[in-house]
């Protein structure tokens, strides 16, 4: 087997293992729920739909963090850790879509929309939108509990007082804090000093995304395999700037991406009033009239194609897109340089390099 095919084979085996384990876990939960009432089934199927597919970025970071620290390729514990991360991601997406009023997720309806549709389809009483939101809050809570149940199933290496448990706890707290800072900046950003907007946006992506999408999953895998501190520090030097670049790319795609590829309507981030680094640069660099237009349009639910196009023009003309692309390049360089310094065997090193390349150059 060539190194490339060995990597692919191993990675596919892990991903399949995670998918099988998720299926097994959710089938068991479906059985428990069926004992309560057949009416509860849509909660489980909503979760199942969400954990089928996706990039599995977090699970893969965890896996290669584990392998890089000497974890064995065929170990049930790391598969269980991958499940826990995927379930946590699903829980975060369910609540995130309520918060951001996103009606679509991966090209299909988001969970709260699914429940609103169930309401309409059955001709139920009262308000379908409120029912959708309430049901999705509960589904996200259930999924968050499942994530933790799955994480505990790892056993003693993830037990009380372990490094892995500490990382898992910190990951959850930081991503929720980061998401709060994100919605806070939407409402407080307009009345806070514009000069600080880029720095605030950078802090937001660090907590809501970079630590959660790359740094913590990689460290978690490493910790489960017993990685020494210096290796975990090396992991962090690579994965934190990588995660920041990943989120900056996401922000650019949120404004300039092709809806057919991203699965999300173009301009939704603008309608939501997201004050990203990209927007922060624009606010500080655009001519006064353009900056005022941007301020007035951000967070307007009724933004049409023309307004979105005008905002794109402003972002491009003032150099904000270029500044963001430069920052992505700078962070990527930092990440790749740190990667090459990691004391890893060829296989995990190559795998992490591939993951990193996909993360910063993606189109969706």
């Amino acid at each position: 087997m060539t190194p490339a095919s060995q990597l692919l084979t191993e990675q596919v085996r892990f991903i399949d293992g995670v998918a099988d384990k998720l299926h097994e876990f959710l089938s068991h939960q479906q059985h428990v729920m069926a004992g309560i009432s057949p009416d509860v089934d849509p909660l489980i199927t909503s979760i199942s739909n969400l954990v089928t597919g996706g990039k599995r970025l977090r699970a893969l970071m965890c896996y290669w963090g584990w392998r890089g620290a000497g974890g064995s390729a065929s170990d049930a514990e790391i598969v269980t850790a991958g499940c826990a991360l995927e379930l946590f991601q699903a829980a975060a997406l369910i609540h995130d879509d309520i918060i951001d009023r996103s009606d679509t997720r991966r090209g299909g309806p988001s969970v709260h929309r699914r429940f609103s549709q169930l309401h309409q389809l059955n001709g139920w009483a009262l308000d379908d939108e409120r029912f959708g939101h309430a049901a999705a809050i509960l589904t996200g809570d259930l999924c968050l509990s499942f994530s933790e149940e799955s994480f505990t199933q790892i056993g003693s290496r993830a037990g009380s007082g372990t490094a892995a448990r500490h990382i898992f706890n910190l990951m959850r707290a930081e991503v929720m804090a980061g998401q709060y800072l994100d919605i806070l900046e939407e409402v407080a950003g307009p009345v806070r000093d514009a000069a600080g907007s880029v720095e605030r946006a950078k802090s937001i992506i660090r907590y809501k995304s970079a630590k959660y999408s790359t740094e913590h999953p990689l460290a978690l895998g490493g910790a489960l395999a017993g990685a020494p501190d210096h290796l975990l520090q090396g992991y962090s030097a690579f994965s934190l700037p990588l995660g920041e670049a990943f989120q900056l790319r996401d922000d650019v795609l949120g404004v300039f991406g092709d809806p057919g590829t991203t699965g999300k309507p173009a301009g939704d981030d603008l309608r939501e009033g997201k004050r990203t680094v990209l927007v922060g640069f624009a606010i500080n660099q655009a001519p006064a009239a353009d900056a005022a237009y941007l301020h007035a349009m951000l967070g307007r639910q009724d933004l049409g194609e023309d307004e979105v196009a005008e905002i794109r023009r402003i972002i491009v003309d003032c150099g904000a897109l270029e500044a963001t692309e430069s920052l992505i390049a700078e962070l990527s360089d930092k990440a790749f340089a740190a990667l090459e310094r990691l004391p890893l065997a060829d296989l995990p090193l190559t795998a992490l390099r591939q993951l990193a390349e996909a993360a910063v150059s993606r189109a969706a």
Copy 2:
């Protein structure tokens, strides 16, 4: 010391221990959050406010379940378990208040209202209500994670594969399923068969309340102390009907209670369209015109004092209140009979009897 004062002393020591431990836990989390941004502090203070006060019913059930099974009076593990239950309850309340549009909690503003007020106070942009909801979703998620973090701190007795962990997992899944059935019945009840409404309402209170408020906490304490199966079965025979009676009392208070005592506006359950056992009896027993009036009014946000009074009259006149009170009495009798059959020492037996009496005869 008399037995009565021994009981009181011990119970106060436990409650104080839980309060101290919660304070210590949340102070630590506040410190972690401060490292991210001072802006995140309101999430922690919201949680702190909620876990200060309250009846501590679940923590106390857990404690006496532990003591009844031979657990020692001065053990840090049971205090930690009490904290985990209180944090879980706080998380459930935060999301519940969003779902039920409850603007008050224990006489003060609910968490989503607090965040809306913070928005108004600071003159932030966009919609204060949406910000409140989003921030409260995230605060509830954070609190749910804290609950689990705290539970894991119990250590090996609550580790992977233990009876205690199984109960904790089941408790979370069942309460979320029960809450979903509750909101489902609000919208689906009007178009489902009226004859089944009492049975459906009974199933809802079993999962959303009885198992979660009394059965699981008592079993959890027992399991942590290594209770044999027959004791756990005896606990269940006592605590499940007790929890059902407790929730039925809550439903009666929701319609007939004194707002000054309950801390909740009278009639809120009716405005929310809650299809309780009390309402189920009324729908089936009231004359056609009254039942039609009830159907038309349930779930109307604009219900005034007069309409609430008329609904009260209907519930009383058709015998629905009496039927519910009979059911409360029947379930209480069942619970107290099962209690007397428990093979417990005098102290835990007396404590559980007092808790049970307070639960079914309360006014708030």
